[in-house]
């Protein structure tokens, strides 16, 4: 066949511009990579590369600033929502977001995230929930499930002595200052497509001045769950989703009109 295949092909998908050309430090199969990529895609689509300012947190997420080609500041563990508040209050026209994991948001940073939401800060928060403290080697997180074995719950999380997991999206739905609180997942193509729409909607919430937005993203952690990525996907579907149902927990009425 003499046809030059390259000339005849339509490009269906390529790496987003806003994603830096750097191999990531994430483990094979880690869906942080998917989350980073989706945020980059939305930044490209909304044309906000020059307006976006990310606030990096502490955890596996700490080097997100290497992977997104936008301005970034680095927060102390748990403090990203406070830092984002500082940035947004002096630069209200910028698109300011945090990117946090379980420990950062739901443990040490609980006060900062709750109050950013109650104040209705016009920022966006991406909360990557993978049920453990991955960067430090897989300790129990506030989001670890009952019975889940981690390095600090070696016999499985015992709710009697180690308490119950915290459902962040459900909690935040009760906060008046919160405008867009949803939980999505990153474990398969369908859920990833929906996650991307939620990420877009969250940024739209901010850009339209509608208040605090947060997207909780259920993610796999093959290394610390001790599984291959494919098995981790199954574990997420079978164990995490029943405990952390996907869905929209709070949606500002003005957002319902937006068609994506």
């Amino acid at each position: 066949m003499a046809i030059n295949e390259l000339e005849m092909d339509t490009l269906v998908y390529q790496r987003p511009e806003a994603l830096a050309d750097i191999p990531t430090h994430y483990c094979p199969g880690c869906t942080h990579g998917v989350a980073n990529r989706l945020i980059a895609e939305v930044i490209d689509e909304m044309g906000i590369r020059e307006k976006a300012i990310g606030v990096a947190s502490v955890g596996c997420s700490v080097f997100t600033y290497n992977y997104l080609d936008i301005d970034f500041v680095q927060g102390a563990h748990g403090r990203a929502p406070a830092m984002a508040t500082g940035v947004k209050r002096v630069l209200p026209e910028r698109v300011v977001f945090t990117y946090q994991g379980d420990g950062d948001l739901a443990s040490i940073g609980t006060a900062e995230i709750v109050h950013a939401a109650t104040r209705g800060e016009n920022i966006t928060v991406f909360f990557v929930n993978n049920g453990n403290y991955a960067m430090t080697g897989g300790q129990m997180a506030p989001t670890s499930l009952p019975g889940q074995k981690t390095t600090s719950s070696p016999n499985g999380r015992d709710v009697e002595t180690q308490g119950y997991p915290v459902r962040v999206s459900e909690m935040f739905a009760t906060i008046d200052g919160a405008s867009y609180i949803v939980r999505r997942s990153l474990h398969d193509a369908k859920s990833i497509r929906q996650a991307k729409k939620a990420i877009r909607m969250a940024f739209e919430t901010q850009v339209r001045g509608l208040g605090f937005s947060m997207v909780e993203l259920l993610s796999i952690c093959p290394t610390n769950w001790g599984m291959k990525p494919l098995d981790a996907v199954s574990w997420l579907e079978e164990k995490m989703i029943p405990y952390y149902p996907l869905g929209d927990y709070k949606v500002h009425p003005a957002l319902a009109e937006i068609k994506l």
């Binding site: 046809i3 092909d9 339509t10 269906v12 191999p23 990531t24 094979p28 199969g29 193509a189 996907v233």
Partner: protein, 80 residues
Amino acid sequence: MPLKGRIDVNEKYCKGCELCVSSCPQEVLALATDHINAKGYHPAVMVAEGCTGCGICSIVCPEAAITVFREKSGASRIPA
């Protein structure tokens, strides 16, 4: 005739996680058995015909390693 597509896997990024392999509805992907990349991973490669350019592999890929192409419709009918 089903659309034809093809993908390029950038071996610099691929970590051999196999999420694309299991997600491909046409089952045309597998991890290479005959080579590894600079980091020692077996990268994903196309091993069979049948790619439709659906892009599902690129959606699940955590490293954004996959570029997806689809033939423009009718292209395969243009004679040489």
